[in-house]
């Protein structure tokens, strides 16, 4: 594989984490505009851990997930009882606040005579753990897709279980769920924390892939993209969001045919697709049909 292909495949894997995070919340009936905030929290936490304190990446990734889950829990606490647009806007406001805090964050240490750490709008350079530890691009690709595969397996297990049924019921009819004795608020708070951790894990890997992050990386564009990926790929299965990322980054950016027109092609495609299939390519009905056919 050449470097370009490896780069594209790594990016598909990285963005899939935040797309899955958005997907998880949509399944539970909440549309978040703010998953990019937790992606950013993960990126900054892991970057600070490895670049400034020499903590190995696996530990840093766990710390990032903890930070992402905590942040999502704290944001979810006052906002999860909101519905629809109110929730979307509250999460957007929270994510924008995170981004501005990153812009205001100046926190550096001298390492080998050079200041390292977040430097406000100048960004955060030198997150070089991957290179310093001799991980080749192919190795990092394997790491990203290995983590992603683990997440997908977890999703598949959950979707088959009682937990998965509860999750979908929560999205379809929260009142019914409440009548059946489910603590809707508590359950949703848990879902939000898991989604936050997932986005943060993606962010931690993203920071180490790029070695440089800046607050702008985590603006609303990333958040709405991840929603769009989940929706065009399909809400019927965990592979839906992956398909969405693949269509955008893989086919359109990767093929280089549409260079300069990529967004016009992608935008038109998405708008037309949503008219034909409002719940995405792999929607619930298609997934059900596929399962009956092949399983």
């Amino acid at each position: 594989m050449d470097d370009y292909t490896v780069g594209i495949l790594t990016n598909i894997g990285l963005i899939s984490f935040i797309a899955l995070s958005a997907y998880l919340l949509i399944i539970a009936g909440e549309m978040s505009f703010g998953q990019q905030g937790f992606f950013g929290v993960g990126a900054y936490t892991a970057g600070v851990a490895t670049a400034m304190y020499g903590i190995p990446l696996p530990v840093a990734a766990v710390l990032a997930m903890g930070a992402g889950a905590t942040a999502a829990f704290l944001v979810g606490l006052p906002t999860l009882r909101l519905r629809g647009l109110y929730f979307a806007m509250a999460t957007l406001a929270a994510a924008e606040m995170f981004r501005i805090v990153f812009e205001l964050l100046h926190f550096q240490r001298d390492i080998d005579g050079e200041p390292v750490g977040p430097d406000g709008t100048q960004g955060f350079r030198g997150i070089r753990w991957v290179f310093e530890n001799g991980v080749e691009p192919e190795g990092f690709l394997a790491l990203v897709w290995g983590m992603l595969a683990a997440v997908i397996v977890l999703f598949l297990l959950v979707e088959r279980s009682r937990l998965g049924a509860t999750l979908r019921m929560l999205g379809e009819d929260p009142e019914l769920a409440r009548l059946l004795g489910i603590h809707v608020e508590r359950f949703k708070l848990g879902v939000a924390a898991v989604a936050g951790a997932l986005a943060a894990l993606g962010g931690a890997l993203y920071a180490h892939h790029n070695t440089y992050i800046e607050p702008r990386n985590f603006d609303i564009m990333l958040g709405v993209h991840s929603l769009a990926y989940a929706l065009i790929g399909g809400l019927g299965t965990v592979f839906g969001p992956l398909l969405g990322v693949l269509v955008d980054i893989g086919v359109l950016e990767g093929s280089r045919v549409f260079q300069g027109y990529r967004m016009i092609v992608f935008g038109g495609l998405v708008a037309l697709l949503l008219i034909l299939r409002p719940r995405g390519l792999l929607d619930e009905r298609t997934v059900h049909w596929l399962k009956r056919r092949f399983a």
């Binding site: 647009l85 109110y86 406001a93 564009m221 709405v224 967004m263 708008a271």
Partner: protein, 290 residues
């Protein structure tokens, strides 16, 4: 100190008038369709870019540019309505919103393909600097913005409350099926409201770019975010709320920028929205459309 406060309040009021107009356009669409149009700002940006193109090519005067801005916004709005809102009228609100985001991407790439520079100059509304009123500096543009906001809101209130078209709009909001049975062409009413909102947005866009005399591709996101913010602060779905929300946002921003700087300004605006949403005072839950 007092003078600074007054000066800031006046600047905030002027900015707030622009936000109010943006929020009014947003509210019209949300109030009637119950859908969020993320392409609202980008459609305004298309209008502003069309006017910039005309200005660069023909050096037209500012009034013609106003017409071009509104026309461009309305055409872009019609495209959005046909592709994102008409097909999802009975369907999913999320799908409509994500589709409108997809068109946002299109608009942004299209304007940067046609006009690739990062920043274009836009002719100013008035030649000459601000007016000095005693120790205060008043920009004449600010007065025009305020006047426009007041006149447009009054006109829209009149349109909704007193005309046959307004009656049709209210009927569609309250009972779409009954409205259809009574012979109202519901899709047409929805389209017209959408175009009206785009025209108001175009006017707001022209006021903003001819006050700040520059156009950038960030204008789309900026207008959508500020319009949404003002609409949500004002309590979603009422025109009066949109105006109050816009003015409140402008005032809060002007004062926090002066005291704490531009980043803190944005932080405080979002914090205000977050706290209001979490706390949800009574006026934020009203859902009336006019």
């Amino acid at each position: 100190m007092i003078l600074d406060l007054i000066q800031n309040s006046f600047d905030g009021l002027a900015m707030g008038a622009a936000y109010a107009l943006l929020a009014v356009g947003f509210t019209l669409v949300f109030g009637v369709l119950r859908r969020v149009n993320l392409s609202y700002g980008p459609a305004i940006m298309v209008g502003c870019y069309a006017a910039t193109w005309v200005s660069v090519a023909f050096h037209s005067n500012i009034v013609i540019l106003l017409g071009v801005t509104i026309l461009g916004s309305v055409l872009a709005g019609a495209y959005v309505e046909k592709l994102c809102f008409a097909p999802h009228r009975q369907g999913s609100a999320i799908a409509a919103m994500v589709a409108s985001f997809a068109l946002w991407m299109q608009f942004e790439e299209a304007v940067t393909l046609v006009m690739p520079k990062h920043l274009y100059d836009f002719p100013p509304m008035f030649e000459g600097g601000p007016l000095a009123v005693g120790p205060l500096l008043l920009r004449p543009e600010a007065l025009v913005m305020l006047a426009c906001a007041i006149v447009i809101c009054a006109a829209l209130q009149f349109l909704l409350a007193r005309t046959r078209f307004g009656l049709a709009v209210r009927a569609v909001i309250d009972a779409p099926i009954a409205a259809q049975l009574a012979g109202i062409n519901v899709p047409r009413v929805l389209l017209l409201v959408f175009l009206l909102a785009s025209a108001v947005g175009g006017l707001a866009g022209w006021l903003i770019v001819s006050t700040y005399t520059q156009v950038t591709p960030m204008l789309g996101m900026w207008s959508t975010l500020k319009g949404l913010l003002a609409m949500m602060i004002g309590g979603l779905g009422s025109l009066r709320g949109a105006v109050v929300g816009g003015v409140a946002l402008g005032l809060v921003e002007a004062h926090s920028q002066w005291f704490l700087g531009p980043q803190a300004r944005d932080l405080i605006a979002y914090l205000l929205l977050f706290v209001l949403l979490a706390w949800r005072p009574r006026w934020m839950t009203t859902q009336s459309a006019s």
